[in-house]
Chain length 312, copies 2
DNA sequence: CCTTATTATGCTCGAACTGAGTATAATAAG
DNA sequence: CTTATTATACTCAGTTCGAGCATAATAAGG
C-alpha cells in the first residue's frame, strides 16, 4: 500500500497534503531465473518515503535498497510517476505521489536473508512466459474469457476483440513480448485480475491465475518488465544482471528469461559477437554436460565508444 | 529496513515540506517549424502546481494547458520526475518535485494570443539543427572549447574527449541526433552553458550561443526533444503534429524539423507507404511550385491493427 | 510555344541484416 | 564406444536499407 505515514496529528493545511514514495522494481536473473524483490510475503514491492535527508530521488532509492540488499545497484532507471486518486484507498484529502524505479542487480543476495524475498516474476504473470511455447492458460482461460467480455457489449465488440487479439497474439497475430502492461491493463479492464474485482466490489467475475499484489504494485511490476523487455533490444543492459564472466549460453538464458521467449542460438551468438559486446576471458567454463564453453566478459568500453544496440 | 507503515514517526514531520509541480514541453510543428510553448518571454516552460482539485497528474496538466492554448492535446507522455535539491535555488528545507510531460499538438494557436509564445526550439539549442549540414558553431566554438576543457585535467582527458566526440560526432563518429540531453549535459559539465555558470557563481568561463531558460527548464526541454527524436522512429507520433490532410513532403519536413536532419526523399516515401501509415484522400494539393502532390491522411486504424513502427 | 526550375513519383541495385537451417567439434555418462 | 549434450562454424535465401537514376507534372519567364 502506498500509505507511508502514520497517525496524522498535524492541523489541517493544504501544503502538507502531498507526500512522495519511492517504489522499486528490483530485478535479478540468477542462472536464468527472472526474479523481483518483494516484501510482505511476495505481495508488495519494496517502497519507502522520499525524505529530506535524501540528496535526490535516485540516491534516496539507492540508500535504502543498498541497505536492504547489501550491494550497489548496477543500473537504475525511472519508470513512472503516478498520483491518481482512485489508485489508493486513502481519504481524498491526502495525495501520495509514487515515483517508481527499475533497478538491475548482479548477484542474488541469498544468504543475507533480506526482509524481502526474491520471487520469480512469472508467478505474477503466468501468461507472460513463452519460453516453452504459449502457456496453456492463454488458450484455455484467457482467450475465451476475453471473447466473452467482448460479447458483453455489442457496440464495443469489434474494438475489444482487436485489442485482445493484438495483446495476446491470437487471430494470426504474433506474440509481442513487450506488451506486458497492455495485457495486464486489458485483463484489468475485463475484470479478470483480482485488483479489478477489488476496485469495484460488486462484480462477481473471478480472477485468472497469477499472484496478486497490494495496491497497484502489480501494474508497476508490469511496467517494469515491459520496459526491460523493450530496453534489452537496444541497450546492453542485460550485462548488469550477469556475473563478471559468463558463457554465451548463460547470457542467452538471461535474455530469454527476461523476454519470456526463446531465441535462435547461433544467431544470438552472431549478434553479440559482431557487435563486440563481449570479449573472451581466455578461460573455459567448468561446465555441466557437453563441450566446454569459452568464458566471456562484457566489454565496458562499448559504453563510451558508441551508442550500441543491445541483444536480439 | 523499509518504512512503509505508520509506526515510525520520524518521517512524518519531514514529508510535509513537499509540493509538486507539473511542467509541460508542448511541441508543435506548423509548416516544418519545430516550436515549443514558452512563457515569460521565452525563458520558461509552462508549469503549474499539482493541486488537490486535479483528478490525476495527466488531467491536471491537461486542465491548464487547454486553458492556455484552447485546444486539446493530441498526445501526452510523461517525461521525467526530478527533485534534486541543487537543481533549484529554493531554500534547502523545502522540496519541490517536478513532474514533466511531453505534449504534441496539432494546430498553432496563433491568433488566440496565449499568455505564452511559441519559439523555434533551435533558438535554445543552435547546435542541434543539422538540416543544412552541421552548424558552424560546432566546429568553430564547441569542439575547440570542449577539447580545451578536456585538457584541463590530464587524468580525465581521454574519457572527456571520447564523450565529447561521441556526443558531437567528431573524430570520425557520426552525428546521432537523439543525444540531445547528453550534449546539453556535457556542455553543462564543461561550464559552457549559462546555467552552469549560474550554478557555481565564480567560474569565469562564458557560455556558448543559445538562449537560456529559468532553472533547469532547458534541461527538461532537451529531455523532451531527445525523447521525441527517439520516438518518431518507432511510433507514429508525428501525425499528432500534422493537419488532417497533408502531402508526403510536408510530413517529411515535419520529421526533419524534429530530428534536425534531412532524410532521403524516395526512401522516406517508401517507408511510409509500405507500412500503410497513410491513405490517399483523393485530393491533390494546391501547391507551391512543381508538380501537384497527392494529399494523404493518417490511417488511424494502424493504431489498433498492430504495433507499428514510426518514420525513418 | 519553349525552356527552366521545382516538386512528385516510380524504379533499380548492391550492401547489410535476419531467420532458419546444416555441419562439425568437444565433452560427460553409460 | 555409443549416446546425449552443448559449443561453434558456416550457408543461404529473403528482407531491409542507403543511394541513386529516370520520368512526370506543374509554374514562371522568355
Amino acid at each position: 500500500m502506498l500509505k507511508t505515514s502514520g497517525a496524522d496529528t498535524e492541523g489541517a493545511a493544504e501544503r502538507r497534503a502531498i507526500s512522495a514514495d519511492l517504489i522499486a522494481v528490483l530485478v535479478a536473473a540468477p542462472n536464468g531465473n527472472p526474479v523481483v524483490l518483494t516484501v510482505k510475503d511476495g505481495t508488495t514491492l519494496p517502497s519507502g518515503p522520499f525524505a529530506l535527508g535524501h540528496r535526490s530521488l535516485q540516491s534516496g532509492l539507492r540508500d535504502w535498497v543498498e541497505q536492504q540488499t547489501g550491494h550497489p545497484l548496477g543500473y537504475i532507471e525511472q519508470l513512472y510517476t503516478f498520483a491518481d486518486r482512485d489508485r489508493s484507498m486513502e481519504e481524498a484529502a491526502r495525495r501520495v505521489i509514487s515515483i517508481s524505479y527499475l533497478g538491475l542487480t548482479r548477484e542474488e543476495p541469498s544468504h543475507r536473508t533480506p526482509p524481502g524475498s526474491w520471487r520469480n516474476w512469472y508467478e505474477f504473470f503466468p501468461w507472460e512466459d513463452h519460453r516453452a511455447g504459449a502457456p496453456a492458460i492463454i488458450d484455455d482461460i484467457i482467450v475465451p474469457r476475453l471473447c466473452q467480455w467482448a460479447d458483453e457489449q455489442q457496440d464495443k465488440r469489434q474494438n475489444r476483440l482487436r485489442r485482445a487479439a493484438s495483446a495476446f497474439g491470437f487471430d494470426d497475430r504474433h506474440w509481442n513480448e513487450e506488451l506486458v502492461l497492455q495485457r495486464y491493463e486489458l485483463l484489468f479492464e475485463a475484470g479478470m485480475v483480482e485488483e479489478a474485482v477489488r476496485a469495484k466490489a460488486g462484480t462477481g467475475s473471478s480472477a485468472v491465475p497469477g499472484r496478486t499484489m497490494t495496491g497497484d504494485h502489480r501494474r508497476i511490476l508490469a511496467t517494469g518488465i515491459g520496459r526491460l523487455r523493450t530496453k534489452i533490444k537496444y541497450r546492453p543492459v542485460v550485462f548488469e544482471l550477469m556475473p563478471p564472466a559468463f558463457t554465451l549460453l548463460q547470457l542467452q538464458r538471461a535474455v530469454e528469461a527476461l523476454a519470456g521467449v526463446t531465441v535462435h542460438k547461433q544467431n544470438f551468438r552472431r549478434l553479440i559477437e559482431q557487435q563486440d559486446l563481449v570479449e573472451e576471458t581466455g578461460e573455459m567454463s567448468a561446465d555441466t554436460g557437453g563441450r566446454p564453453a569459452k568464458l566471456f566478459r562484457f566489454r565496458h568500453a562499448v559504453l563510451d565508444e558508441r551508442q550500441v544496440a543491445g541483444t536480439k
